[in-house]
């Protein structure tokens, strides 16, 4: 079996540190599949991550990689892209990293429309620290900091990204492997802020606490609850309960920040400097 994607990994950093049955590796592979599909090189692509299980992915990937501080991946990525627009910038983040401590950076990143692709590994929990509730833990699900179930309503990160101005928004899951890679690759094509939520199973910190069964059972849950966008739109409200749409959720045209700022440079005469 040909494994052309292996060259994108730092073989000497493997095996990874994720738990058996974790979905993060699937998403990481989907990202490099998309990179390969688009023909991005390892020299002109930067992977930026935050803190948490998801964000350890950057260390395994053979590019220029930046493992930032908790929640701060998008500001670092913003600086990288604006400083050197030739670079392709991919951000790897998690549900806690992106929507809790990094929530403000997330919405402003979407608003500014800097050309980057943000892949949020949504495992519904803080996995690295042992299973505390995140802003994307579904309502009434259990966590170590919500032993009786959460009472605060979760974010829909895709709605949030769209409302804040992201120009490409999609969702997929670690079960829908090829679809996920396609959604990421399409995000790469968008000249602006692209956001892809990748739902992943966390059997250790989320599934176990909520009696969701084995990793395979959790993937079956994704298969059965992730509904393709076209079908979702036809689904009556009462049948949407407990399910979520996957696929391309939003796309629009807007000038990206670097292009817009280039005009500022031209007005100021800096293009001749």
């Amino acid at each position: 079996m040909e494994r052309s994607y292996e060259k994108y990994f730092r073989q000497n950093r493997l095996p990874h540190m994720w738990c058996p049955g974790c979905g993060n590796g699937t998403v990481m592979k989907a990202i490099v599949t998309a990179i390969e599909k688009k023909g991005w090189t390892q020299d002109n692509t930067v992977i930026v991550s935050g803190i948490g299980c998801s964000s350890r992915a950057s260390g395994y990937m053979d590019f220029d990689t930046l493992h930032t501080a908790h929640g701060r991946a998008i500001p670092f990525a913003t600086g990288i892209k604006i400083a050197n627009p030739e670079l392709n910038v991919v951000v790897i983040t998690g549900d806690g990293d992106c929507t809790a401590i990094g929530g403000n950076h997330f919405i402003h990143g979407a608003r500014r429309n800097v050309d980057m692709t943000v892949v949020l590994f949504n495992n519904n929990i803080y996995g690295m620290t042992g299973g505390q509730a995140s802003p994307m833990t579904p309502l009434h699900k259990k966590a170590t900091t919500a032993p009786y179930g959460t009472v605060d309503r979760p974010f829909d990160a895709c709605h949030l990204a769209q409302a804040a101005g992201a120009t490409y928004v999609a969702r997929s899951t670690a079960y829908h492997v090829q679809h996920l890679a396609d959604m990421i690759a399409d995000g790469f094509d968008n000249d602006g802020f692209s956001f892809i939520e990748a739902v992943v199973q966390c059997p250790t910190a989320f599934g176990r606490k909520n009696k969701m069964g084995s990793p395979a059972d959790m993937m079956k849950w994704m298969r059965d609850t992730g509904v393709m966008q076209a079908a979702w739109e036809k689904l009556p409200e009462e049948k949407r309960e407990g399910k979520f749409p996957i696929g391309l959720l939003h796309k629009c045209q807007a000038e990206d920040y670097v292009t817009a700022y280039q005009q500022v440079i031209e007005i100021a005469g800096g293009d001749k400097a």
Binding site: V46, G59, H67, G79, I82, A83, L87, H108, V264, G270
Partner: protein, 382 residues
């Protein structure tokens, strides 16, 4: 020299950074530093550089660190509350060794405090504001021209040592207007971005220290595929849980500054040749202290001024030498007493050290410091 201009300290600071090669600024408006962002917004694009107003000071730090890793010389500017927010990523910059300059134009705190009033209350925050063990370089200018010079110096030190450098201004010098003559731009000595001296094939390691204990970390996009992290890492750049690696990493961060301390400790002495007493001052307060020392001299008191430009690392050697030859030291500060603790630590009882503290939003007037000098001479408390 270029022609004389009437300039503000904040403006001079911004122009100094540009002259030193800064081509990326990320910031968030806050009094009394905002003019630095405004000058950058106006001038950076004229040089092909980039300005971005971020959503907060944390994001501003993140943006400049990203831009620095992508090869640009970078600056951000703030004041007290914003400086607190930046501390998280100042620590990141120290650990991951990312060249970056942070200007803090100090105002009265804590908290929102007195936003438009001068203070020197962030001396210790500049040194210890971020978490964990780390070295720090902080420079404090006392004139508008020196705001320019210190900005150049800060950018050069950030690049040379691959470390965050603090320009510790205060509202006095930040908003002061003076006639200045700036050096010709082609006369500015700019420390270039350090470059790898080996290829990947030759076994290049991004965090392997050179002779000066500073690593030549490759810029992103130059084909080295490096990994940068705020976790403690070995010379490969990848995290390590090893006690030896951790100890060596933290030791090297300190040592790379310690071995250069004499070079980066800048100070001036006035009337110290025959001085029996010394005033140790910095920033805007040193301006008043200078006048006070002149007045006291006219009254026949043999007093001099040691004016510190480098606040961190602290000028142990010069203060220790001063203590050995005077009968007493006065430290006027626009705070409840911060740098005076460092003076006392170094003096170790060799002579009396008196604090003149002021924290009511007003700057010192010379007579206050003259009176404190007189009391010091009389052996009383300031």
């Amino acid at each position: 020299m270029s022609e004389a201009r009437l300039m503000q300290g904040n403006e001079a600071c911004a122009e100094g950074a540009l002259a030193a090669g800064v081509r990326f600024f990320g910031g968030y408006p806050i009094t009394p530093s905002t003019e630095i962002a405004e000058v950058m917004a106006k001038l950076l694009p004229t040089l092909g550089g980039k300005f971005i107003q971020m959503e907060d000071e944390i994001a501003s730090m993140g943006a400049i660190l990203g831009a620095s890793l992508a090869g640009k010389k970078v600056l951000t500017a703030t004041s007290g509350p914003g400086f607190s927010l930046k501390q998280e990523l100042i620590g990141y910059a120290a650990c991951a060794e990312i060249p970056s300059v942070i200007v803090n134009v100090q105002r009265v705190g804590p908290s929102t405090g007195q936003p438009t009033s001068p203070s020197q209350g962030d001396v210790m925050q500049a040194r210890w504001g971020t978490h964990g063990d780390h070295p720090m370089i902080a420079l404090s200018p006392w004139t508008v021209r020196e705001c320019f010079d210190v900005a150049v110096m800060a950018v050069n030190y950030a690049e040379r040592f691959r470390t965050p450098v603090i320009v510790l201004m205060d509202e006095i010098v930040g908003h002061l207007r003076e006639k200045v003559e700036l050096p010709d731009m082609d006369q500015i000595d700019c420390y270039p971005r350090r470059q790898p001296t080996a290829t990947r094939a030759e076994g290049y390691q991004p965090y392997r220290p050179e002779k000066d204990l500073v690593p030549n970390v490759a810029d992103f996009g130059t084909g080295y595929h490096i990994h940068v992290t705020g976790l403690i890492h070995d010379e490969t750049g990848f995290p390590s849980g090893s006690p030896q690696v951790t100890q060596e990493a933290i030791r090297r961060l300190h040592k790379k500054i310690e071995i250069a301390q004499d070079e980066i400790t800048h100070y001036e002495e006035f009337f110290m040749e025959d001085a029996e007493y010394a005033v140790v001052a910095y920033g805007g307060t040193a301006r008043t202290a200078y006048e006070a020392v002149r007045i006291a001299r006219q009254q026949g008191i043999r007093v001099g001024l040691v004016r510190l430009m480098t606040i961190w690392p602290f000028a142990d050697k010069i203060i220790s030498q001063t203590a050995a030859k005077v009968k007493g030291i006065l430290v006027p500060e626009l705070n409840y007493g911060q740098l005076v603790g460092e003076v006392e630590r170094v003096v170790r009882g060799a002579c009396p050290v008196e604090l003149l503290a002021k924290y009511n939003t007003e700057i010192f007037v010379p007579q206050e410091i003259v009176s404190a000098i007189e009391k010091l001479c009389a052996g009383g408390n300031a």
